[in-house]
């Protein structure tokens, strides 16, 4: 199907073209006409302004000292202007000029300008605007009368203070405050609507610019039922520092509205009203978070030390971080430095020590050749820096000795008392604890002594690891210490050897690391004859082992323990057990059970009770090296210690101790194969051997 083109008459097309063309011409003609008219009007206004400006200038700067001609000229201009102002357009032009100029002028010129505005009755036009039903014209009238400071308009304008149209209302409020001094009072008395923050600032600015303004006592409006009036009154009280309203402000702390409360708190803080403190504290529990923060802030600003307990209570009881931190801040504001950060601090960092001084401390170690009994580490226990000279080093050495002596005495006393009370626990004397000696290295020996400033708490003292298996140690001592010796008369004497000099050495510890404080005498003949078992059973009088050593045969590193070949001894015992057809007793692995079942009481616990913080820290540092499973329980209990530093250190020490105990436990299983035989009383019967023979 073919599309057919609609038939359009050519005449119709022409008619339409003519119509649209005419409309276009008409449209552009209108634009051109109105544009020219507006331009002509503005040009006319500009010309009028140019003509009027000198006249206005003449009016503004016409002085009493003017000459007669000038006065005649002035009067003539006045008449001329009055004629000129008969035209409403001209009145409007002059009014605009005056309104513009009053913004750019100040001082006497401005006063004259305002007077001129009234002289020419231009304000009457503004009064007429107030009667308009259109809100924008009313607003313009109010603004004009306010700018030109027409006081007569006050009564007419104040009626608009509670106008339902907010624009009119706001302009009327500003006008009322601006035109007369009593305007602010009237406004606060009669205002029924909310007063926005911006409006408050605008009114405050108007009041500030008012000359000779004597502010009324704004405390009166604290009783207003309008919340915004109360808030604005508080703002005005603060602005004019009206301290006579203090009691009213304090009373507002009990207000139900949080905003009013907060404004009152700000006021109290600014005025430093100390009388408000009880009310502030009383208001705190019922206040919301923001108000609480403001209360604490105010308390910090005006509070005294007697209010710190309350703030501490807040810190303890309030869970909100912001409130708590504000309370801490308030405490520190009242008493600076009262609360310091204490959590998550590295106890090893001492801000008093600089890296340079640490290097110097290394030198100090060279100077301190031996410090018997010194603790393994000395750290930040001292609060103040100590300058160390040679005299100081001597004193320090003495101090360390005294400290060590006291420490050992204290330990022994506790141990003795415990031993009586808890015999089952089988506590051991701590005589076996090694005396810690600072071992100077070869390099240190070569270094010359220097007089320098050193920090004592950075000293590092050499120490050795002591095996924790005290049970084994005790039993071994019991077996080996009792020795029967035949004197020249043939009588047998029982002697008890002291093995305290022996270090408690782990099997795989290198021999050269062992201390050599009491090496076996090379010229001494030791005779080990008969060894009794733990149960006191006397064995047969078998010739005991006599160890005879020629002078010089024993090397410098050998001690009494090293003279015994334990492996051979073990084999020998096993062989004899087999010959006697006796089943070797099954050894109870006490060590393993100790880890899981800590028993007894930690010796550090008692010392801990009697010590101050520094001593406690020292004791804690000793635990990883000296402690055993009993200390694990003790360290666990320290997790609840009130002192955060101790808590943290206890956790660290416990970790170290656990790691060490686990490590030694693993090593102990290997060592057991060699030495556990000695713990059996049954096997000790078989220890009647000739060590000399064994040595061969």
């Amino acid at each position: 199907m073919l599309l057919s083109i609609p038939e359009i008459h050519t005449d119709l097309l022409w008619d339409l073209s003519v119509l649209f063309g005419s409309l276009c011409i008409l449209y552009f003609s209108f634009i051109f006409f109105f544009r020219n008219r507006l331009s002509a009007k503005s040009r006319n206004i500009r010309e009028q302004r140019k003509e009027l400006t000198p006249i206005i200038s003449n009016f503004l700067f016409h002085g009493e000292d003017a000459t007669r001609e000038e006065k005649y000229e002035h009067i003539g201009l006045k008449v001329e202007i009055r004629e000129f102002l008969k035209d409403p357009i001209n009145r409007s032009i002059l009014k605009d000029i005056l309104l513009d100029l009053q913004r750019d002028l100040t001082g006497d010129s401005r006063t004259r300008l305002l007077a001129m505005y009234k002289d020419f009755d231009l304000h009457l036009d503004a009064f007429d605007k107030l009667k308009s039903w259109r809100w924008e014209i009313v607003t313009k009238g109010i603004v004009e009368l306010t700018q030109m400071q027409v006081e007569e308009a006050y009564t007419a304008i104040r009626k608009f203070i509670n106008h339902r149209k907010s624009v009119i209302r706001k302009q009327a409020q500003i006008a009322a405050v601006s035109l007369k001094h009593e305007g602010i009072a009237h406004f606060l008395d009669t205002n029924k609507y909310p007063i926005s923050e911006w409006q408050q600032i605008k009114i405050l600015e108007v009041l500030r610019e008012k000359e000779d303004f004597i502010p009324p006592s704004f405390g009166v409006w604290l009783l207003s039922a309008n919340k915004d009036v109360v808030l604005f009154a508080l703002r005005l009280i603060r602005f004019y520092n009206q301290t006579d309203a203090n009691s009213g402000v304090i009373q507002l702390l009990k207000h139900k509205d949080e905003e009013i409360k907060q404004a009152a708190i700000d006021c109290i803080k600014e005025f430093g009203i100390i009388e408000a403190m009880p009310t502030l504290m009383a208001a705190f529990p019922r206040a919301k978070r923001d108000t609480r923060i403001l209360i604490l802030d105010a308390m910090g600003a005006i509070g005294k030390e007697e209010h710190i307990p309350f703030l501490r209570e807040v810190c303890r009881k309030v869970s909100n971080f912001n409130v708590r931190s504000k309370a801490l801040g308030a405490i520190n504001t009242i008493a600076p430095g009262t609360v310091l950060p204490h959590e998550n601090l590295d106890p090893m960092i001492d801000s008093d020590v600089t890296p340079k001084l640490i290097d110097e401390t290394e030198n100090l170690k060279a100077e301190l050749e031996t410090v018997p009994g010194a603790p393994s580490e000395i750290h930040e226990t001292a609060e103040e820096e100590i300058e160390v000279t040679e005299e100081g080093i001597e004193l320090f050495s003495e101090d360390l000795e005294i400290f060590d002596h006291c420490f050992m005495e204290e330990l022994n006393e506790i141990l003795d008392s415990r031993r009586k009370d808890e015999e089952d626990a089988g506590y051991l004397p701590l005589d076996f604890l090694p005396i810690v000696i600072e071992k100077p290295t070869e390099m240190d020996k070569k270094k010359p002594k220097k007089k320098s400033r050193k920090r004592l708490w950075n000293l590092k003292v050499a120490y050795e690891v002591v095996h924790p298996d005290y049970e084994f140690r005790k039993e071994l001592e019991d077996i080996l210490s009792r020795v029967e010796v035949q004197n020249p008369g043939g009588e047998t004497e029982v002697e008890y050897l002291n093995f305290n000099f022996l270090p408690f050495v782990v099997e795989d510890a290198p021999q050269e690391d062992l201390p050599r404080e009491n090496p076996a005498g090379t010229d001494q003949k030791e005779k080990l004859t008969k060894v009794t078992d733990m149960e006191g059973q006397q064995t047969d009088a078998v010739e005991s082992a006599i160890l005879e050593e020629k002078p010089g045969e024993v090397s410098e590193g050998d001690d009494a323990c090293s003279l015994v070949d334990w492996e051979e001894l073990s084999n020998s015992v096993e062989k004899r057990l087999t010959e006697a057809n006796i089943e070797p007793p099954i050894y109870q692995e006490e060590e393993n059970t100790l880890v899981d079942q800590p028993r007894g009481h930690s010796i550090f616990a008692d010392l801990f009770c009697k010590s101050d913080l520094d001593a406690k820290l020292i004791l804690l540092r000793e635990i990883p090296a000296l402690g055993d499973h009993r200390e694990l329980t003790f360290l666990e209990s320290l997790r609840e210690d009130p002192n955060a530093r101790l808590r943290k250190m206890a956790i660290e020490v416990r970790k170290k101790l656990s790691a060490r105990l686990k490590k030694e436990e693993g090593e102990g299983q290997n060592r057991d194969s060699i030495v556990k035989w000695a713990s059996s009383s049954y096997q000790s019967d078989l220890l009647n051997f000739d060590l000399k023979e064994l040595k061969k």
């Binding site: 302004r49 140019k50 400006t53 000198p54 206005i56 200038s57 003449n58 503004l60 700067f61 000029i97 513009d100 100029l101 913004r103 750019d104 002028l105 100040t106 001082g107 006497d108 010129s109 401005r110």
Partner: protein, 121 residues
């Protein structure tokens, strides 16, 4: 008679100040924009310049810079600035302005400042 170059684009205020200064016995030349001021300065250096900071084509700061650095003139310059326009005032002083007066202007105060600067010069 001392010559004052008044540079301000606000015709009304400029006219008023012009009238006041003229009445005080000064010969005032008013320019309403920066280009005009520049042309005027190229013709003749006045005894004192009173200039608004905000002007079309050539701001008051540029004018100070032009006078001090291009013309190498030590003619006193008083700057008129809006209230709160502290940065511009400081810049003007750094460039070499002698004094400033803020709006709203007191014509009497301006007259005193002009007289003082002329006396200094």
């Amino acid at each position: 008679m001392k010559k004052i170059l008044l540079a301000d684009d606000d015709e009304l205020l400029a006219s008023l100040l012009n009238y006041r200064l003229d009445k005080a016995g000064f010969k005032v030349h008013w320019s309403c924009d920066g280009r005009e001021v520049k042309q005027e300065l190229e013709k003749e250096i006045p005894d004192i310049i009173v200039s608004d900071i905000m002007m079309p084509y050539f701001s008051g700061l540029e004018l100070v810079d032009y006078v001090r650095n291009t013309l190498n003139s030590k003619v006193p310059i008083i700057i008129i600035s809006s209230a709160g326009n502290e940065e511009n005032v400081l810049s003007a002083f750094e460039l070499g302005a002698n004094d400033f007066i803020s709006k709203p202007v007191s014509p009497a105060e301006l007259l005193v400042r002009v007289t003082r600067e002329l006396n200094k010069a």
